[in-house]
Structure formats: C-alpha cells, structure tokens
Symmetry: D3
Subunit: 321 residues, 6 copies
C-alpha cells in the first residue's frame, strides 16, 4: 500500500504535502528479513503504471526480489497516516478497496516456482480479508508451501470491518491455519476467530494447537501505551510447553507507530532460523520491534548487530562514532 503521511505531526486535515513510503504486513516482514541478510521476496500485484513502478522501486530499494510482482489492475491501495503525539493518537484512514492486489485470482502466481528454494512463507490475516481471490491465492500458497516443506507463519488478527466481500474470518482463516506453524495471535483473536474460549494465553494456545496440530508456536506482544509517543513493549511466546516472556523495552519517543508487529515477526523468523535458543529469539524479536518504532516508514531498517545490542541491554542510545 502507498502510505501518505503529512510531515511534522500535522493532522490529515492540515496536509499540504505527504511523505511517501509504502507498506503492508508481508512486505514489512520481508524487508526486515532482507536487512538481516535473509534473501526475501514479496509476492503482490501492482498496476502497470507509474505508481506501480514507484511501488516496485520501493521493494527493490529495500532489498527485495521484485521479480515475483504481478502487474495489472487499476490501482494500489492507499492509506493515509496521521502521526499522533502525547495524548493524540496516530490515526489511519484506509483507501484500499479495488486494489490491484485484491483482484488477484488463483492461478496468477506460479507458487511452485516462486517458493522453489525458499524455507519460510509468511502471510497476514489482512490478505484473505480483502477478497475471495486473495483468500484463494493465500490458500494456494500455504498448501504449496507445506508441500515443499517450508515453515509457514501467520499474523492472524481480527478486524471484522475489513471483511467486506461476503465471507467472515471464521469461514476463511481456519482452513489457512491448518497449514501454519507459527501463529501471531492474542487470546481474544483466538476466541473470536476460532471460537476457542480461554482464560489465559497458555490455555488459548493449548486449545488452538489441539485444533491445529501443525502449530508449533503462538506469539503475541504486550504493548503498554503510556501515550502516543511512549510505549513499552514485551513479547510472549508459547512453544508448546511453556510461555516465555521477553524483556520489556521502552520506546520514548516513538518516531513511527507503524510496523512494530511486522518487525516483531521478522525478528521471530530470523531468530527461529538462526538461534537455538527460543528465549533469545523472543528477546531479539521484541528488541527489533522496539527499534522499528524509532525509524520513519513502515519497515524495520536495522541490522542484526543493532538488534543484538538493544537485546543485550544497550538501550541508552550512546552516540556511535
């Protein structure tokens, strides 16, 4: 999606210019992984015009393989972001219907070829919410991913107002979850989407795994919102046996409120691919997520070394020469 933000904390109502970046859950995850040195690609669909070329350029400049982008359709989704501060919240106005990507159809992507040689596939719950075509293509993807032996992760969240093409998350998400190894979800989302009543995060996780035995990890973040400019962040991870908690990281001030969740997921994927240690992985992911909020734009442009420093307690921001 094209993200348009008035500079200097202006309200959308005041905008005389917009800063231009692009974003979207899966793209953000992929870009962060690319910055960790993991070769990454982003499958999407852009209109075959100058705005589509601008978007492609964004993917390429952030190190993604853009050769798998499809071209067609009329428009790219847009979101307008108002940067909040102190007790004024950041706000998003979406304009994303009828995007080129939402008009994707099964068969358009040659998933076997796209996923060839890959080890991980990630999808976000927003994708199957867009259209039947997007849901179908997502299902194509996870089936092929599993067939080819990839690990599959999903960021499952529930925003009922997104689902406007006649299906509910309850009808679509369970089938997709059947092919998924790592799920990002809160206990509330688990209850709402899968109908799994629960009193606690571990209980929700256990019951979820009973229903979807492929799941190995369920993760979530706890965000304490002191103000729009000051959040505290903690990650939690259920590994089938226990719930691990990360350190809590303070972000004050927040430079960009968007993309923390995607940075967290990228950190998890990198950690699980790299470290033996699940606790280290969780700390790495949470530190990465905290760092994201100090960077303008949707994507987390940090190195492994930078995340590891924060993870190790180097949060004082001492000048580096």
């Amino acid at each position: 999606m094209l993200r348009l933000t008035p500079p200097n904390f202006a309200r959308l109502e005041q905008a005389t210019s917009f800063d231009v970046v692009f974003g979207g859950g899966e793209a953000n995850v992929a870009i962060s992984l690319a910055h960790f040195g993991v070769p990454s690609a982003h499958v999407t669909r852009f209109p075959d015009n100058a705005i589509g070329r601008r978007a492609t350029r964004y993917l390429r400049e952030h190190g993604l393989d853009a050769s798998v982008v499809l071209h067609g359709g009329q428009r790219i989704g847009v979101y307008f972001l108002e940067m909040g501060a102190a007790l004024r919240a950041s706000q998003i106005v979406y304009d994303r219907y009828n995007s080129a990507f939402s008009e994707i159809k099964p068969g358009m992507v040659d998933w076997e070829s796209v996923l060839h040689g890959a080890s991980w596939f990630h999808w976000a719950g927003i994708t199957p919410a867009l259209s039947q075509g997007a849901a179908d293509v997502c299902l194509e993807a996870v089936r092929m991913a599993k067939k080819l032996g990839l690990t599959v992760s999903a960021d499952i969240f529930y925003r009922s107002n997104l689902w406007q093409y006649g299906k509910t998350p309850q009808e679509i998400l369970p089938e997709l979850t059947r092919y998924t190894d790592l799920v990002v979800a809160s206990p509330d989302a688990i209850q709402l989407i899968f109908g799994i009543e629960n009193d606690s995060f571990p209980q929700a996780c256990e019951r979820l795994k009973k229903q979807f035995p492929t799941i190995r990890y369920v993760v979530d973040t706890h965000r304490t919102s002191v103000s729009a400019s000051h959040n505290d962040l903690k990650g939690i991870l259920w590994n089938g046996e226990a719930v691990l908690e990360s350190d809590t990281f303070t972000i004050d001030p927040i430079i960009d409120r968007i993309g923390g969740g995607d940075a967290f997921i990228a950190g998890l994927i990198y950690g699980l691919m790299t470290f033996e240690d699940e606790q280290k992985t969780l700390n790495f992911a949470t530190a990465a997520s905290a760092l994201k909020h100090t960077i303008p734009g949707d994507a987390n442009l940090v190195s492994i070394a930078e995340v590891e420093a924060v993870m190790s307690g180097d949060v004082g921001g001492r000048l580096r020469r």
Copy 2:
C-alpha cells in the same frame, strides 16, 4: 479529486513526497469565479473522514460555499500529476473509481434549494462519465437550473476511456446538452459525441445549434504546444453569428499545466455576466486561462484587475511594488 504531485519536476517513479492540492473541473471554475468576486458554490460528495474534511477545507479556503457538500461514501478520487518540462510531457495517472462522488444518486441533492438565487450552473462532461448516478444527478441539476432560469454551461469533451459503467457519451451527453446555453467543445468532440460531421468550427457550431436550439455560444481554445514548458493560447467563440478569436498569449514557462480550460470557462462566465462585449469576454477568458498556467495548483487564483492587465497587453511581467 485529491491531486498528488512530486515537487521539482520529479517523475512519479521518483516521488518521495507529494504536494497536496485538490481539483476537478467544476470546482476549478467555481474557485476562479470566487476570486473574481462572484459568490460560488460547489456541489460534490466527500467521504465523512479526515480526507473529506481536508477536501472541504480546500473548497472553503478558496472562497467557496461548502455547505452544499454531501458527506458519505468510502473515498475521494485521486490523481497523480507528474510535472513535465521541455520535451517531457506532464502526465496524469488517475485513481478515481468508486469515489464518494461517483456513488451519488438522484434525490441526494436538493437542487431547488441549492440553485435558489443562483444565476449560472456549470457542469463538465467528466461528471456524467463517472456513473449512472452521476449522470442522473447532472440531469436533475440542469433541468432544475433551466426551470429556475439559470444559464447553463458545459465543458463537453470526449475521453471514451472514462466511460466505464456501461453507457457511452453518445447515449448520455445529448440529453444533458438540451438544457445548455454555452458549450465548450472542439469540432472533433462535436462530431464524436453528437455525430455531427463538420469541416470547420463554425459549421460544427451551426449544426450543433440546429440540434440543440438552446445553445447560444460554442467556445474552444487553440493551444500550440511548443514544449511542455511553452504553450501559446488562443480562444475562439461562436456567438450564433460569427467566430471571434482572441489574442494569442504566450506562456513560457508553464508553472502548472492543469486547469487552463477551467480558468477559460470561468473567464467566459464572468465576462458574459459582466461585459456587454463578446470580444472582450473572449479576450478576458483567454488571458485568464494563460495566467492560470503561471499558478501552482488546479485553480486560477487571479483577480479581475490582473486578468484585465494581461488582456490589455501587459504581458511583460514588470515587477509590481
């Protein structure tokens, strides 16, 4: 429509920020008239969100009565403008389908109340091209305008690729033209839309009037495009008897390529409302149109005195203190 332009002649592909203005044929005409001191209103429909409020603010700051704006729908149309220079043309990428305005329906506007006390109504051919609803509402408007004794003008141009809701301009525009006093149209447009074959502008005009006897004026502009930065402009007007030609005005450099036609129409409306002299009116309109191209944005923010100075040959741009 929200207009997004990368500054400093950057290509859309290079955009890292967009300048924000708004535009649209009828709004541009109304704003120019407001700057001539003519109380003007713009009937449109904006989504009930921060972007809609931004657009309303635009209308108000340019002196329009925004109390007649409807609120509803999902989005506002967008167009991306790349500023050309020298031998690189300015280019527009439209993203305007499913706009709040295109979803307007008959009955939403209380035309009797809106037009009460007004003396002129203007519509552009783009409006009935958007949707059946927009075409129907346009017809409501011109019928009520005629009933209430307003003069009606129309900017009829032919872009077949705009008409995507199943109707053709040939099916819709003639009925609207039946209520119209002043038509902006080229001989080609007259042939394509109304099927009126013609060898010359006066012939086209005469034959058009035979078919649509309400028409009193047909006007057009001749634009010589030396380069994207240098155009020469001449207006022509058929008054039922003869073709008048304006002086030719040189615009070099062009600061903003958009809105020249709308500025021309506003100049015509002002002139016909004010001057006795049709030749003076045509010169005024053409000078206004030329001045428009020196002003950033869609709208012509000039005073009567400024147009009259240019019209009188003061085109040397001598510093005013």
Copy 3:
C-alpha cells in the same frame, strides 16, 4: 496575527524559512468552536492586500465566517515563534504595532448586525490593550452583546508592557468586565487589574463577583512546566459556589506550545452551551486544551469525540484505524 516559525526547533537566529499560520486569541477560540460544529465568526480587520487575503483564507479554511472581516490599514500584526524543547523555552518576538486591527475605530463594525442571531461573544484582554480604538470597539461590542442577550466571556490577563497607547489595564478593563459573564483570570491578575486583594482563588472570585455581579464563572488553568516539552495541565472553575478542579492531563511531548488557553476557553464555551454538568464542562475544556498542544499551529483542530475520549481517560494514544 501572522505567525512565523522556523521549522525543526531552529532558533529564530538560524531561520532560513518560516512556517506560516495565523493566530490570535479570539480567532483561536472561534476556530476551535467551529471544529466542534458551532457556527462561528471572527471580527477583525486586515489590510486590503495579498497578506490580508492570505489571512482571510486562513479564517475561511478553518471554517469561520469571514464575511465580517473589515478591510483597510497598512499591515497585519506579526509574531515570530521559536519552538523550544527540553530546558530551552519557546519564545515569541512580537511585531504587532500599527496593525490594521489596532487602527479600528468605533462605528466601523455594525455590531447589531454582526451579533444578530448569535448566542455568545468572546473577547480577550489583548484587544483593548492595543489602542484606544480597539478598546472602544470592544466596549461597543460587549454593550451590544448584552443588549441582545448574548453570553459574554473574557480572557483577562495582565501584561503591562502591552499597554502602550497611554491607558492602563486598570482604566479600561473594569468597564468591559461589567458586561461579562465568564472571566478567565488568575488570582494575581484579579489583584493587579481590579485591585482586589485575595489569599486564594475562591476568595478572589467572590470578591470579584461582588464588584461585577454579572460574573457567573471565573476559570483558570494550572500548568506545571516540567520542561518546554512536557507540561501537566489542570483546569479550575468557580461557579459562584464552589471551586471545581479537572483531572490533570500530561502533555509530553508538546508539539505546539501556543493556543492552549484559547482551546480551554473554546472547550468551556462549548461545554456551557451543551452540557448540564459543570464538572464535565471543565474536564472537557481541560482535555481540549491538552490536545491542542499536540497540534501544529495556534488553533485546536479536534472534534468533540476526540476531546471526549481524552476526557474519559483515553490518554494512551492507541493507534486508530
């Protein structure tokens, strides 16, 4: 007044560009009310030149009725604002003498017509400080306001260095206060302006009311300035019987230091016009004032719903989608 601010916390001494907004106590109050949906007008006087047109445009874009603006005079007042941060204070350099408004004279405004249909009139103590003419016009206004049954509020503060035309606040403000229902004033101001010695806010209020029986409310704000970037804000209101205190709101960081008092007054006016509940009114006004400091410019561009959310404790700035 034209407000000129160097961007990005630069000192005035460093300025290579200025951001342009406009401001002034009464205008700020009116704009905030317009954003609460209350039809509002601002009576002022601008020079009849491009800067005056720019200022008029500002009023209109913020939703005010600008038809009551007078045109004449040489200049508009200017103030230069340096944005402070941390332990460096924000600073204002005024350049406001000989403004078109300060040259206003009795009889220039047809107050009967301007106030026709209105229910509230607000004036600020800065106005009668500018010139004898401004003081006289202010008196014209409050007399007509009272005659027509409007509620009158006043922001009475004491800056002795403003009064440079030969009169003192002690000579002018009491007569104006005789027509006023709601006074914004600190105990110190009450002592200095009206010579009312007092030991406490309620005592000052009671004694003030004895002298000016029309007064129904006296209000003030307590601002704890932790730093130029972090203030805590509490409102207090004396209703003739008791002193109510609002919740305390933390603003950290402050995006714009200006206009908090005007936003507070607009909140009071809206609350007293709308709510039955004085405590709710006070909380609303204080929350509105706190929100103001998160918005660039002089004026408080927030909706009722946004203020009510903060008032209800939703101060964590959670992202809104």
Copy 4:
C-alpha cells in the same frame, strides 16, 4: 529588510511557508562588493531581539562588517515577495513603516569613525524617503564622506508613494545630490525630482551636472521585459562627455527578479575603482546585473571572474567541472 517569499512560484495568498533572506538597496550593493573582494560595511539599525540578530547574521555571512550596525527600535522592515513567471509579474507587498532604521536620528552614527579609511560611500533614494531622521542621517553621511574625500554614489529613483512623513523628494534629494559623484537615474526621474526638463538621456545628464557640478557619472539601465521570466538588459553611462552603452544580456529564465539594480551599481563601483576603462566598467556592471537575476535572494553572490566571463561573451552557461 526581512524578505519573505513563498517557494515554488506560489502566490502570497497560497503561502504555507516563506523562504527567508534579507535585502535592501545599500546592503545589496555592499554584499556584491564584498564578493568582489572589496572590504565593505553596511550602516543600519536593527532591533535588539532575535530578528535583529538574524539580520546581523545575514550581513556577516555575506562578508560585511556588521560592527557598525546600531541596535534599538521595535522592528525590522519586512517585504513579502511573490515570484512571478511568464505573464504573471513578480509582486512586492511592503510592511516597512516604523522600522528601527526609519527611527534613526542624527548623531546616532559616528560617521567620522565609520567612514575612516573608506574610499566610497553609497546611498539609495529610498533612505531619505523613510523619515526625517533617515534623511538627516543621510545628509550627515554624505557631508562627512565628502569631507573625508570619499567618492559618493546614489541610486535616485522616484516612488512618490514612499514619502509619507511630510516631505517630498523634491525637498530632500537635491541637497543630498550636491555631495554626489555618481548618480543612477532615468531621464524621467531627473525631470520629476529635480524639475529638469529633458528630451534625452544625455540632455538630462548635462542639465543635471550644470545644477550639481560634483556629478561625474550618470548611469541607467534599459530593461526589456519580454515576460516575468525573460528580461534583456543593457546599461548606459554618461561620463560627462558621451553616452556609452553596454552589450545587451539576455536573462531567461529569471531566477530572482530582485536586486538587479543594486548589482549593477556594485559592478559600477568596482569597475570605477579598478578598471581604467569606462566601457569595460559598464559592461562589467551590466553583466553583473544580469548574473544577479540567476541567483536566489537579493544579493549578487558572484566573483569577478564569473562576471568577466559573461562580460566577454561566455553566456552559454557551459557546465564547469
């Protein structure tokens, strides 16, 4: 004066920011001379506040000796500049009354000390137009300059609307001219100010010299204004015997319309101080003036070598590496 210009050819009415430079006839001349390597100082008066410090900084950064600046008064004069293009003229809105400089009084400047060691003094006709004090101080200066043997130049132009303190240019300028060696003036100005009727530039010059025998040179420029973006420039100089004409230089596009006359004068002063050759001096001055219009701001930031290249016909602007 503080000069405020909306960027990118926006009208003043559209301004959301202003670019900040400073300007004024004598300052512009001095800065250009400083860039030619001539030690130069600018005598003026700034308020003792942050805006005065900003102005002082401007003088210093452009290489002037700012130690002779007086501090006091309330404000600095301001002018708003709208950049024109093509057939829209550049426009200035002045806001310069009651400036710190206009309140200067005889005795404030120790001219003997200031002019000690200098060889040239320049004044502009705008200065004695501001106030009786400014006229008196100007007279102090030229008398001391003559006493100390300096050459004196003056840019005498006639804008009657500037003279608002009760005196006319006809009352004030002749006495100042009595101490002047080089006068920049058009035949019209010579007639209007000195009452010297004339049919031609040489006739005007001869008659002027009869009245003011100190005058050695009278100079003027001929500017052909093809458009606000394209001017052609020629200098003319009367040396007591003949009228010399410079080459004509084409400026297309004009980057900044202001300061061409001051750059011309600086070129004359430098040339007369340096070259034996009056024709060369005139060409140098005119080439300098043309170059000025390619540079943003009031002042001509070019080197001697750059002027000499243009003067020698190198006007094609070939890339320099």
Copy 5:
C-alpha cells in the same frame, strides 16, 4: 559518486541543504538500460558503512543488480553540483580522491563470473584516470569481455587534470581501446589521446580505426549551449563508412544538466542491440539524451515508448492522461 545539490538553483555557497542522488558514468548508462528493460549490473566498490548501503540502495532502486558491488575502503567519491540557469553555468566541485572504488585492485572482481551471460560491457574514460588499480581492473574487464565475446563500448574523453596518479591518458587509454567496439569521442579527444591529427570527424574516425581495428562505431554529440537553461542537441555516428547525423532536439528549460552523455550511450547500446537501423539508433540515442535533461538526477528514467515518441517528433510535451 554521491551527488549533493542545493535545491532551487541556490549557489553552493548558499547551501543549507543538499538533495541526494548518486551518479557516475557507467552507473548512469546501466540504469538507463535497465529502464529500457535490459537486465544490467554495475561493478563498483563501496565502503562497508551506512553511506555505502545508501549507494547500494540507489543502484537497486533503479533496477540494477547490486550483487556485484564490492565492499571495502574508506569513502565514496562525492561531487557537489550547483544548478545554473540562464547565463550562470552549472558547476561541479569534485571530492573524489581516495574513494573505495579508486582503491580497487586486480583480482578483486571475478570478471569471468560477472560477465557470464552478458552481451555488452561499457567503460568510461574516467575509470582508468582514477588510479593504477582502476586502470588495471578496467583492462582485466575488457580482456575478459572480449574473450567471452561481449561487445565493448567506451566513453573516452580527455580531462588531463583527472590523471593524478602518475600516468597519462596517452599511456593507458590506447591499450584499453584495443578491446573496444564502440568509442564515444570527439575529434579533439582523438587527437589528444591517441595523437591522431585530423581535420574532421570522419577523418579522425578512419585514422582511429586504422590504429584500432576492432572499432566499429565512433560517436559524438554536438551541443549548442544557448544558455545554461537551453541547449540544442544533435548526435553523430560514424559506422565505418559514413557519418550519420540525428535530428536536433531542443531542451528548454534544462531540469538537470548532468547525465546527457550517459543517456546517449545507453540509447546507442539499446539501439544497436535492438534496431537494424543505425539512423534510427542514433535518433533514439539523441532523443533519449535530450529527455534526460528534463529529469532530476544523473540517470535517465524514461521508457522506450517515451524515447520513441520524442524521436518521432512528438516534442511538444502535450499533457498525457
């Protein structure tokens, strides 16, 4: 090289900010080819720091394969560009010594692997001017290119002041030219570098080919510099038999003076790879070069269709919707 340009035609001396792009002959050629759809890579060496990452990002966003970039060294070359206008020339200040690329050494690039599958190799005369290492690596490259059957082109120009490591162009360039098929060079350069006296372009070409029989094409451009803002451009090509001339293209105004030569070369390479017709190739290349000057930055971000339109005479810049 990192290119730093003050915006809005400011002089370098005035700069308060720099626009950031990157450039360099071979990179510019490769990027233009990538925009024509030709897969392209750029072999260079960047420091392993954030500025090196910024440069890599530039290559990637413009569609180049950046996997062949070497990492090491201390710095990237910098050039400061002042944008000229009218009779003020654009100017470059170089700061490029000791760049990471200039410290490249033979053996660092695995040319066999890099050139595998490629059909064309291009080098610029600036490269062997930097250091012995760069000259050696260039020689490695052209030898391997010839061995693998690639076509080799070279932009040979003579700036003697570049050669500061102890060798002269006369010592180095001839050996490199022995492996080259297409040479961009003026008759003067041919005389200076190769000692080939000549009276005309065809004579120079013929004599050059006698000495370097691999050469199939010699090309040059004729640039008429009316001003820094207005150039006319014509390409010429010697194909071993005759000299072809392209149409002349007018660029007015020039948006960016840099990169025209590289765009010309990219057009030649594309044309020779694609068209049968040498005249068409030359027109294509010259039109591409003219278009380049309308685009901010070093690189020519145009499509084949855009070049073909200009080549076919569509130079009037008519608005495209």
Copy 6:
C-alpha cells in the same frame, strides 16, 4: 567539517536530502564564546573552492573572525550524522581524511600575529590525531600561546582509531599538554594517554598535575544516557584542591546530540574569564552544555542570560513573550 544530516530522524540509508551545517571541536567552542560576546577566531584551512567558501560563510555568520582561515588543499572533512531517538543511538560516519586542514604544515600560520591580543587558546585532541603536520602546528600554537601569556585549554580524549599517520596519542599528546592550563579528560583517558594509573578522578588529576605542573584545572562531564532522546548531565571540576560537582540537568528530548562537550568547554572558558566563583563557572558550563542539546547544529547559539536562567533552576521552559 561539513556535517550532513538526513532530516526527521531518517537513517543514513534512507537519506534523500541532507541538512547542512559545519562543525568541529574548536570551531564549536569559538562560536559559543562569540555568542557570549567574546571576540573569537578559528584557525583552520579550507579548500579554495565553493565548499570552502560555504564553510567560511558558516564561520562568519556565527560571529567568528574568518580572516585567519587558510586556503588551499583539496577537500574539507565530512561527517554524516544519523539522528537517533529512543533506543536507537545517533551515529556518525566520518569521511575526514586528506582534508585541507589535515595537510596543514608548520609555518603556514603566523601564530604570533594570530594570537596577538588574545587571552585564551583552545585545542582539541582530534587535531594532533589527524597528521604530523597538524600535530606540529598545534605544538607551534601552544608554544607561542604560552610565550604570549595566553591561557591554554585542551579537550583531550582518546580515540585510538583516529591516529592513522603512524604516531600514537601517547607519543604526541604529552608534549602538547606541557603547555596547557585546563584539561578536559576522563580518568580513563588520563590512564590511557599518559599512562597514569588511578582509582578516582581526584587521584588522576593530582597525578596528572605532578607530571604537568602547568595544569590548573581538570574537568569532565558525567552523562547518564537514559536513551538517545534523554540524557542527564553533570559537570565535575578539579581545581587543584578539590572536586566540584555541578547540578544535574535533564535534557529530554535531545534535539541535537552533537556539540555538548564543546559547549561545556566554552562555558568553562567564559566562566573562568568572568566569574570569580569556580562553582558558578562549573554550573554555567554544564547548563550551557545541556542547553546546547536543544539546538540544531553543532554550535551552542545561546546567550549568557539564557545560560544563567537555566543555571539558576529555570529549567521548566516556560513560554517567553
């Protein structure tokens, strides 16, 4: 050095523009002193090109005497600054080798003339780290300074990676320290550079003085880095007898992380030159340092009155009108 900073907290990797200021330890100290009203000069060497002129302009605009700047060499040192926030540190990428200043040689500066009439000389440990020439010139300077009776201060810090010309700080700094009265150094630096083992700051100071009897003061700052946006600052000063500590000042948020140490030194120099009271001097210096971090750029543009207010506890940043 030329300092290049991407605006709005962007990472260097994201930069599309750089803000331009200049900096360097000694220049920063001199500029701060100039803002305290102390006539100051900065001895350095700039290339004789437009970038050198830009740098000279920077010195002049900040009130320094630039007549002592030498001209020559190829380039000016550059540093790229990434502004950090919250838990992301600010980062510097240096590009300063082969600068014009580093190529300075003994005899180039006429120190007797430069130091004539001065009372204080300050040098920073970075200077002798650059080259043998710079070290030699620094030694020339301190010897002449002592000979002429100036007080000498030094900011001695240890960054071993700076010393790349074959000498170590241990070889060079002791000789320079022999002529120094005030040393800014941490206990660690004292141990590393002078081989003086120590357990505490006073012990380090006493032992240092034994070795260098000219030393009268050793000072240091304690910086608590809560985050990149929030630091607490305390100064300590050993006066030969005791260690004094300043108050602790909180800076939240930090607007510019650079230059705090230089501002501290300027405050010390001013205090020791002005106040009798060493404690007051230390508080003044630390308050000045804290204020520096609220100002964009390297230099501390504050007045004595502003520092004294903060020093006296006025840290709440109350709006000044």
